[in-house]
């Protein structure tokens, strides 16, 4: 005896039918359960096609109805589901959790040195490592900020940087709450949206990355209405901000931009180059109060001012280590000093300058990318025998990923094929922009890939030439 279901065949329906049939069937069955109807409704399968393009969208999706009409696209919304509406099997609705829970709770006592947050960041050795940040790390960071760049209760800070990144989380959200500011949330960045948010909420503090300052400046210039003048303070970090942009932005918005430097491992900023005060173009500034910074040679001996070496940091903001990874921790933190992997020097006034990067790290828009991680993915492609990944500069002079690929004997592959494989497995910002096929890769006697030999006219995104800051400025202008 085979079971019988009801089939509803609707080849020429539309987007609204997709939600309407499901909902009708559900309601019919539930009504039946409560004896409102005597008819027992069967299991049902609906097969639907559409006669017109359509979008079926959740209640929070932002849809332009006029454009939809112009392109003949039918728009249907899922009715906002209340408590007890359908939800993906095996999941919990946050809104249900909020509705059923008490609004009273006393924060549990926490050990200051217990982890509060793990932030995953790419190093040079393959997969992202979890940087452990403790309650003490954040408390120290807030204390440092209160000394160098205090905010107050009348400030409104714009949270446009992603809060999952150390910069937005530590210097944005947590600073905001520490100082009791208002916080303007911008969930989706575009220059126009950021500008609108600043204007609408009369924001006084903006923390952002250089590309945002460049874009917002452009957007503000082309606007017919006036530029908001409420910003009293801006902070830029993640990459160097061209001096022309800094000056033009300050002029147009009548504000000041301080340039910061920091790492995930240091709970964000450790030094600040404050425009308008003791400011030095191209510098990352002096070490903040509460932070010790040094330049050391390969044997960890401090070098003289003006001499290049690795920048190391000791402070209460430094992570106790990588989650479950004592080897990486021991390599990175030696005698209490965090080794940043950034090369630079200190001038006689105590200002630091970054000149190069010790590790083969790629940094795109403030996000670390490990060449090793991408190489390992490429190795896992059945047609690939060897691969190497380096940083190149894209049109906007940001760092981008370039992959060199050696195929197995007798294999052929297109760039598209390799890129599709990367897209399936990697966040978009890590996906190579260019793939170059080679017969072999340059290697040292020990078999190590010589990445330097693969670079042509490449230079570091964060590199501000010691004397050449003006040259860079002209390139941007």
């Amino acid at each position: 005896m085979s079971e019988k279901w009801r089939l509803i065949f609707n080849p020429d329906g539309d987007a609204a039918d997709m939600v309407a049939y499901a909902s009708a069937l559900v309601e019919g069955r539930i009504a039946g359960k409560y004896m409102l109807s005597t008819e027992k409704l069967p299991n049902t399968i609906v097969v639907q096609g559409v006669k017109q393009k359509g979008i079926l969208a959740g209640a929070d999706v932002d849809i332009n109805k006029d454009t939809a009409a112009r392109y003949n696209i039918k728009v249907a919304n899922y009715p906002r589901s209340g408590r007890g509406g359908p939800k993906p099997v095996g999941t919990v609705n946050l809104s249900d959790l909020l509705k059923t829970s008490s609004r009273k709770f006393n924060a549990v006592e926490t050990d200051p040195d217990a982890p509060a947050v793990l932030l995953y960041t790419s190093g040079t050795t393959g997969r992202p490592k979890g940087v452990t940040l403790t309650h003490r790390n954040f408390a120290q960071q807030c204390l440092n900020v209160s000394k160098v760049l205090p905010l107050n209760e009348s400030d409104t800070i714009v949270l446009v940087l992603p809060l999952f990144h150390v910069y937005g989380l530590s210097n944005g959200l947590i600073s905001g709450v520490y100082f009791g500011t208002k916080m303007t949330l911008v969930p989706q960045y575009s220059p126009a949206k950021l500008l609108e948010a600043v204007e609408a909420t009369k924001a006084t503090v903006l923390i952002a990355v250089p590309t945002m300052y460049m874009h917002v400046l452009q957007a503000a210039k082309t606007r017919k209405t006036s530029i908001p003048k409420s910003l009293r303070l801006c902070v830029s970090g993640g990459a160097p901000l061209p001096l022309t942009t800094l000056r033009e932005f300050e002029e147009a918005f009548q504000t000041r931009i301080a340039e910061g430097y920091g790492l995930t491992e240091t709970t964000s900023s450790v030094c600040l180059n404050k425009s308008g005060e003791a400011f030095k173009p191209g510098s990352i500034g002096p070490a903040a109060e509460g932070v010790e910074m040094r330049v050391v040679d390969d044997d960890d001996n401090e070098v003289a001012d003006g001499q290049e070496g690795e920048i190391v940091i000791r402070s209460g903001v430094v992570t106790p280590g990588y989650w479950n990874n004592p080897e990486a921790t021991a390599e990175s933190i030696r005698d209490g000093w965090l080794h940043t992997g950034d090369l630079g020097y200190r001038d006689s006034d105590g200002f630091f300058f970054i000149t190069d990067r010790k590790k083969d790290l790629i940094i795109r828009g403030g996000f670390n990318i490990s060449p090793r991680e991408i190489e390992e993915l490429l190795f896992s492609h059945p047609k690939v025998r060897d691969a190497a990944v380096i940083a190149v500069q894209d049109k906007r002079e940001r760092e981008a990923v370039k992959a060199f690929v050696v195929l197995e004997d007798g294999e052929t592959a297109t760039e598209r094929e390799i890129l599709d494989y990367c897209s399936e497995n990697l966040a978009e910002y890590k996906v190579p922009k260019i793939v170059e096929f080679r017969d072999s890769l340059p290697k040292s006697a020990t078999g190590k890939i010589l990445r330097k030999e693969l670079r042509e006219g490449y230079h570091d995104d964060r590199l501000l030439e010691k004397a050449g800051a003006d040259t860079k400025e002209q390139q941007h202008g």
């Binding site: 279901w5 997709m18 559900v26 709450v177």
Partner: protein, 298 residues
């Protein structure tokens, strides 16, 4: 630095001090410090009721929305460890992070339910998937898509997982009948090579399962859709994950009717179920009209 306050306590004290003063300005809405604190408390209580304890890792895959802030401080109040990560990450990257920190729960957007479902079996520690926001999107097109829905009793399948698997097998058999060699990736994705050819979503309401399965018969041109909806890059990136269709794999696009015939044959062979064509009953028609009216509104 003595007397280090935990992050949960930091918010609590600020809320006592600031009370009704605005904390969050978002989308023309205002949330006071007191409301922020209470929402964080609710999350802390909610997580506690799910069995999350001090020291447990709770992953967060959220954009800058108020829920991020409530969740973050709720986790802090509980003394648990927040693991917020990049919303642009893909399956393999997410698996690595969740396994490395042995996350017991993840709080994310409804849009990412499919993505998390697909990797759930690869992350043994993950007990709870907590979803927020109503931002899901489905694109349909006459040249490209066929949608199959099933509304069935929960007891039809052993578990939610089984529903995913069985429906996956039905779709694979249907595609095979057209000469497409597809495989089932657990909980949600049917793929051909590395590309997605069908998506399955299993929802539950009371004693019923609602199963939605969208299959691509022909290539879906998404440009028009993105003129109409504004979507953040990370979500667009996931909507746009490499896709294929029966036409792209075989050179021929079946009609919705042909697809239905093959599907019914697969339903018969996989589950021993035959389906007879019918219509909505009177009670159901009422619900149908009501939902259509709501869906067309706004």
């Amino acid at each position: 630095m003595d007397n280090v306050r935990g992050l949960g306590r930091m918010l609590e004290e600020m809320a006592k001090k600031q009370k009704k003063k605005q904390a969050i300005l978002f989308d023309n809405r205002e949330v006071s410090y007191r409301e922020l604190d209470e929402n964080a408390n609710k999350i802390a209580n909610g997580l506690k009721s799910l069995g999350i304890n001090k020291g447990d890792r709770v992953a967060m895959m959220l954009p800058n929305i108020p829920d991020f802030i409530y969740a973050f401080f709720g986790i802090q109040k509980l003394g648990a460890v927040a693991v917020p990560f990049n919303t642009m990450y893909k399956g393999r990257e997410i698996i690595h992070i969740l396994n490395d920190c042995e996350a017991r729960a993840i709080i994310t957007m409804t849009n990412f339910a499919n993505l998390i479902n697909e990797i759930r079996e690869d992350v043994p520690s993950l007990e709870h998937v907590i979803l927020t926001g109503q931002r899901t999107m489905v694109f349909v097109s006459p040249d490209s898509t066929v949608n199959v829905q099933m509304v069935v009793s929960k007891d039809q399948f052993e578990s939610g997982d089984a529903a995913f698997r069985v429906v996956g097998e039905i779709v694979i058999e249907t595609l095979k009948a057209f000469g497409v060699d597809a495989w089932y990736k657990h909980r949600g994705g049917v793929r051909c090579g590395g590309k997605k050819i069908a998506t399955i979503l299993v929802s539950e309401v009371e004693n019923l399962l609602v199963i939605n399965c969208l299959t691509f018969l022909g290539p879906l041109r998404t440009e028009d859709f993105f003129r109409v909806v504004w979507v953040s890059p990370e979500i667009k990136d996931k909507v746009m994950e490499p896709m294929t269709s029966v036409e792209e794999e075989t050179g021929t696009r079946p009609s919705v009717g042909e697809f239905k015939e093959r599907l019914l044959a697969a339903l018969q062979s996989q589950m021993g179920i035959s389906a007879e064509e019918g219509q909505l009953k009177r009670d159901e028609l009422f619900g149908y009209e009501k939902t259509r009216a709501l869906a067309d509104k706004k």
